[in-house]
Symmetry: C2
């Protein structure tokens, strides 16, 4: 099979290598087969739009490869990034469950493969497999917590410095390895970070320079190293 956009194609959920790691894939065999039957896999190029804000919810996308940016736009067109969904995560779920329009724009950050499941068969599937409905509730909780985290960035921290410090600590703890030196790969641009924490690109750039100057962090290419976690946490208390 040809492989567009250089992706490794996953033929079926039944043989998906992520089955154990994530979400829907970790289901009993009959449910998995049924899910496979109502899913349709597709690949999308970078910057492809899966759906837009206000559009009627047609169904959910389960991401197999790549990352998807979920954002909302203000009247003047300035976008705000709600969350970045990674492989294994689900997008469009709240809209599909509730029947309300999608709340955000979903855009592929890189070439992606995703399974699309139309709303009606999906809801029917959930009615038949009650344990999967509970799994869906868990996923919705996770999405809620991610959005709640976004509220914290936007509302709870007084200064832009606090927001960025918290963001960097969150990134590091999400990918935490050992307890000593925190490091993570940061694939987001200053502009994107600004859109997540709700500030301007220039402010992020300035704060990065500031944090480096104070030896709180180091950046080597796309690798972020938190040199002084304690001091970075102190920024939150001022």
């Amino acid at each position: 099979m040809k492989s567009p956009y250089g992706l490794q194609i996953i033929e079926s959920c039944l043989i998906c290598p992520m089955r154990k790691r994530q979400l829907f894939c970790d289901l009993p065999r009959p449910a998995l087969e049924r899910l496979d039957a109502i899913s349709s896999s597709a690949t999308y190029p970078k910057a492809a739009i899966l759906f837009v804000e206000g559009q009627e919810a047609r169904g959910v996308f389960v991401i197999c490869h790549g990352r998807v940016k979920l954002s909302a736009s203000s009247a003047d067109g300035k976008p705000l990034i709600l969350r970045i969904a990674e492989a294994g995560e689900v997008v469009g779920l709240p809209g599909t469950i509730s029947g309300k329009p999608y709340g955000a724009i979903a855009e592929a950050l890189e070439p992606i493969q995703a399974n699309f499941i139309r709303r009606e068969p999906f809801l029917q599937f959930l009615r038949e497999y009650g344990e999967v409905a509970l799994r869906v509730a868990e996923i919705l909780s996770d999405i809620y917590y991610a959005t709640y985290q976004e509220v914290r960035y936007l509302g709870l921290y007084r200064s832009a410095a606090e927001k960025l410090a918290q963001f960097l600590l969150d990134q590091a703890s999400a990918h935490e390895k050992n307890g000593r030196e925190f490091r993570t790969t940061l694939t987001l641009t200053h502009h994107e970070i600004a859109q997540i924490i709700g500030t301007s690109r220039e402010t992020v750039t300035r704060l990065f320079a500031d944090f480096k100057r104070k030896h709180l962090i180091e950046v080597h290419g796309s690798v972020l190293v938190i040199k002084n976690k304690a001091s970075l946490e102190e920024v939150l208390e001022t």
Copy 2:
């Protein structure tokens, strides 16, 4: 039975007058009986704390009477109101489903009656009644949308005027009667509104005065009348 805090007590979900209107109460008979068996009703005085941020999720509260304020606090103690849950709504659900600690503080805005359901029996109940799990997923979607709305207030609107205008329009459309003149009862103080839209109490007061001066709104006691919806919407575009 004595009725503390002047509340009308609802003895059982089976005879709850809100059954048809809301949520869990609208369930088939066997499920409802089972739910009733694992629920324990209680009343709380004004300002009672149902749970706090970071506390292990013990279970969910279904509000029968009164309103509950869900808020998060910053390091310096400034609270941010996430949502106001009304009678028929559920609080503590995301934490209970996911097993993560509660994300917010839940405080009674007035004397309330609520049913508490412990986590383990609740999850067991959901496993047995798959259709209720789907209902829970819908409720989680609603909670998600409410939180998403909060993100919009905090992140998408540039000026405090835009935030307040959007807030007032949301309030009015939530309680919309006819299409002509929009009015709603606003039981929140300027301080609380400020904590919802992420600004200061003084700014809210000033903006209210400003909107009144421009004849966009009128306030008679706790009744808010939107005189000029179009102009209020224009505020959003500037």
